[in-house]
Amino acid sequence: MSGLAAIVGAGCTKVGEHWELSVLELAVEASLKALDDAGSPPVSAIYVGNAASEVLNEQGNLAVLLADELGLRGIKAVEVRAGDASGALALHQAYLEMAAGAPGPVLAVGVEKLTDVMIQEVERVQMLFEDARATFHSGITIPGLCALLTRLYMQQYGASYEDLVLLAVNDHRNAANNKYAQYPFPITVETVLNSPLVADPVRLFDTAGVGDGAAAVLIVKAEEARRFSDAPVRLLASEAVAGEASFSSREDLLSMNSLRKAAARALKRAGMDIKDVDFFELHNTTSVVGILALEELGLAERGEGWRLVKEGQIAIGADWPVNTMGGLKGRGHPWGATGLYQAVEAVWQLRGEAGKNQVEGAEVGLTHNMCGLGSLSCVHILARWEVRA
């Protein structure tokens, strides 16, 4: 299946508080950008990733509504949900659609609008993505789960909180050069430490903010890609793996099985090794999650991920560039859209259009989009057109 699909169009909205735009209007904006990027071809199927529009925006069935808004009646329209992995899962489904022989281009869109409700509602809805029997009973929030993970990591490996949040500093540095980012400004460790506690020891600037956004890519068969674009990007692998549903039931609390397995399968499909990857778009809900991802991907030994960050090895010009356009922390994290933002950003890198954040000679990118603390991981491997699997 590897090498069958290519991305010929990509577009997104800025992540932010879009008071004047509805969830549907956001999706339309990103979709039209992606379609225009590919010369506005007819679309045979649309996959929409969204986590919680029923409870956040009082609107369900977004795929059908979006197809209609785009003037696409009579095509296949599928809504995909998996908490904050909805976006990459929608991309995965679109990829499968293409691999199964879709009669025309397939649009994958991710959209989420978090600002229609207050932050306390946002916290409450996020708890639904984990086992609600545990979250609703204990009152643990997603930042709270990340806080437990942070404490366990610090207890186990002796890293300090200051060390861990260097990842957030990295992300903001990159976001500063991304005009679509929600927080396009650099920060320091002090910024994090001076921000309010959300769930001890996790502070506000160590969490992904609350914002609205939509991102979309158009996928076609690889052999037809040149018809639609001068700069198509190969989609070499798309894997989705569910791990333990509940964080507390993991044998090893400091591992993310779902990422390890999804990454291994994706690399195998793409015929690659992790060393072949030139940049990574990770899913750090808070810094510790990104640190663990570095370890699960094999870029650092267990308990050493934070050192990789501290030693500057994840910066744009270094060995393992991470979150090149700001990641969840700097660019933002509209839940169901994030997976598609990662894809769009990977496309920019691989086309050489990443501006000040360009990874020189980027040929292969890996994206990791996750639900909650890793109950589901989606890993995609994208490559510059010239690279074959």
Partner: protein, 156 residues
């Protein structure tokens, strides 16, 4: 507020009812029908130990809407004596008194009241074990969880 759902959850929230796999001995909370470790479907209901130790904790300061009035509250990951881990609020203590390894015991508390007219959800929360000096200065400290309430047939 879902009255049927709260009612369904009573066994696992009031009595820490879980499942034990008869084939491989693994213990789970809440109950389940298939053992993810060995695949067996031969699981029995079991009342989990009310004693455990604290693995890690946090203080939730930005709370979901229905728990806003309780913030800040402590939530911990507790490893029960059976080996199973549960997430639970930790009560009757300050964060400064908590450390990994601390012995905790389960008690019954309000989880939330659904407004002044809705039902009240009750369920387990954990607190530091209550210890006491037996009268007459005997050498060992008593503690309340050595004697477990025997499980009756009242468990659904």
């Amino acid at each position: 507020m879902s009255v049927p759902r709260f009612w369904r959850e009573i066994p696992h929230k009031y009595r820490l009812l879980g499942s034990r796999c008869r084939s491989c001995g693994a213990v789970y909370h809440p109950r389940r029908r298939v053992c993810p470790r060995c695949g067996s479907r031969d699981l029995e209901d079991v009342r989990l130990s009310r004693r455990g130790r604290l693995l890690a904790f946090t203080v939730v300061r930005r709370a979901p809407s229905d728990l806003d009035e309780y913030k800040p509250y402590i939530v911990g990951l507790v490893e029960l004596q059976d080996g199973v881990r549960v997430l639970s609020q930790i009560v009757d203590c300050d964060p400064s008194e908590l450390r990994p390894g601390l012995e905790l015991e389960a008690t019954l508390r309000r989880i939330r009241a659904h407004g002044p007219a809705g039902v009240i959800e009750y369920g387990y929360k954990f607190r530091p074990v209550i210890k006491w000096e037996p009268e007459g200065g005997a050498s060992s400290l008593g503690d309340a969880s050595g004697g477990e309430v025997p499980a009756g047939e009242g468990d659904r």
